[in-house]
């Protein structure tokens, strides 16, 4: 029994095939999904999604959205998603440093919130790369 995973962003379909197991980051922590999971609908936080195909784990950075799990079908709708293998490590590291610098410089609630979001996104991307190894 395998799960059918679909990861969709507004611009393209990032992933559409069968997997053995996934680990998803939600607002209330990480959840692992195996075949025959109970149906749930949950919000997905900015973080990483781990996919297992035959004892090999793949990482993907997700930028927030929703997931619906039911009947061995998982649909994840996110604002943006990047496969770990598609991210350039150095560029991701640089983006992380720039985001941290911006957070320190930010003033005013709005800028702080935006800088926080950017930081979390950059961190998710860096984690996605590290997660592969």
């Amino acid at each position: 029994m395998t799960l059918n995973l679909c990861v969709l962003t507004p611009n393209r379909i990032v992933w559409d095939s069968e997997v053995k197991e996934i680990i998803l980051s939600t607002n209330s922590g990480q959840i692992g999904v195996l075949p025959n999971h109970a149906p749930i609908a949950t919000a997905v936080d900015i973080g990483i999604l781990r996919i297992r195909l035959n004892d090999q784990w793949l990482t993907m950075a997700l930028m927030g959205g929703f997931a619906r799990i039911g009947n061995n079908e998982i649909t994840v709708l996110v604002n943006d998603a990047e496969k770990g293998s598609d991210i350039d490590p150095q560029e991701a590291q640089q983006t992380l440093e720039i985001a941290e610098a911006n957070l320190r410089k930010a003033e005013g609630r709005r800028q702080i919130i935006e800088a926080n979001l950017a930081l979390r996104r950059a961190r998710a991307r860096v984690e996605a790369i590290n997660g592969i190894s």
Partner: protein, 323 residues
């Protein structure tokens, strides 16, 4: 210049020649030409030649516009197809129930900013007005949110007081999701609604655009419907996780659904607009071609007639001298 030439010929051409229907009028006036007695010089070849030149220019311009529309269509089409997969899970989870009866309806009409795109804007406006009438009733109110110049111009005439918000110049920058989500946010903040009905033209193929309406319900209505069973009853079978309360998740979900559906609708409408413009410009070029053929025939006839008259004059002059 045409008028002066005609006056010189001593012709009394009616105003319709230069009116808004120059093509049909000139055909009838040229036919009137054939029946006038010879001896009076007919419409000069110069006039016909000028008209041929302008028709040829129009044909070139419309052909170019058709090619521009075709290339723009190709560019947006892939985006539209990719965004189609996005709202299907929402429909599977929350259902698309157009027949839900709610107090506050908001109709979001999507149209184009530029004209010359066939009838798609008029059909969208017609459907919006029909929905407005259908959902009107005691204690119910229906408001419009308008995206695009063309619908605004048409709806502002008779429904000005019902328009909540109107947004134009969407297509200045290439469309992407962040822009649309900001727009969706804007709309959701300023408008109270129980159900949002988005009216747009769905792009099925280059020659077929079907006006479509998608319904997005507000979270309170979703909860109510879920409890009462029916299509949304399945929602309850899903356990909602992540976040504090079910209501909060449902609200986020509804907002996300709205922005996804709106994104897809705007892209599809843009594709339909380019497709409609392509076919409108194509039929326009073809019309110009036919007109050019007819004018060429007239031109040749005029030319031959004037040559014949000259010959007659010369010959009769010569025979008058001899005899």
């Amino acid at each position: 210049m045409a008028m002066a030439a005609l006056r010189r010929e001593g012709r009394r051409f009616a105003a319709p020649l230069i009116s808004s229907q120059p093509m049909t009028a000139i055909r009838s006036s040229l036919i009137a030409e054939e029946q006038t007695p010879l001896g009076l010089r007919s419409i000069s070849t110069q006039v016909v030649r000028n008209r041929m030149k302008s028709v040829k220019n129009i044909q070139k311009i419309t052909k170019a516009m058709k090619m521009v529309a075709a290339s723009k269509l190709r560019a947006i089409q892939t985006g539209a197809e990719n965004s189609r997969g996005l709202w299907q899970p929402f429909t599977a989870l929350l259902g698309d129930v157009p027949s839900v009866d709610v107090k506050k309806n908001v109709i979001v009409t999507i149209s184009s900013d530029k004209g010359l795109c066939g009838g798609i804007n008029s059909t969208s406006v017609k459907i919006s007005k029909a929905i407005h009438k259908l959902t009107a009733g005691p204690e119910k109110e229906t408001k419009y949110v308008i995206l695009g110049e063309k619908a605004k111009a048409q709806l502002i005439r008779d429904s000005r007081k019902d328009i909540e918000l109107s947004i134009t110049e969407l297509q200045k920058n290439p469309l992407n999701y962040t822009q649309v989500s900001v727009l969706a946010d804007d709309i959701l903040k300023n408008v109270e609604y129980d159900a949002l009905r988005i009216v747009f033209n769905k792009f099925h193929s280059v020659v077929s655009f079907i006006p479509t309406m998608s319904t997005v319900l507000s979270p309170e209505v979703v909860e109510k419907e879920a409890e009462s069973g029916g299509k949304l009853g399945e929602l309850d079978s899903y356990e909602i996780e992540g976040g504090e309360t079910k209501g909060e998740i449902l609200q986020n979900l509804a907002e996300f659904q709205f922005s996804c559906v709106l994104f897809n609708a705007i892209l599809e409408n843009a594709c339909s607009e380019q497709g409609a413009r392509m076919s409108a410009m194509d039929s326009s070029s073809r019309n110009a071609g036919e007109m050019l053929d007819r004018l060429t025939l007239t031109y040749n006839r005029t030319r031959q007639a004037s040559i014949t008259t000259e010959l007659i004059e010369i010959i009769s002059g010569a025979s008058a001298l001899e005899g």
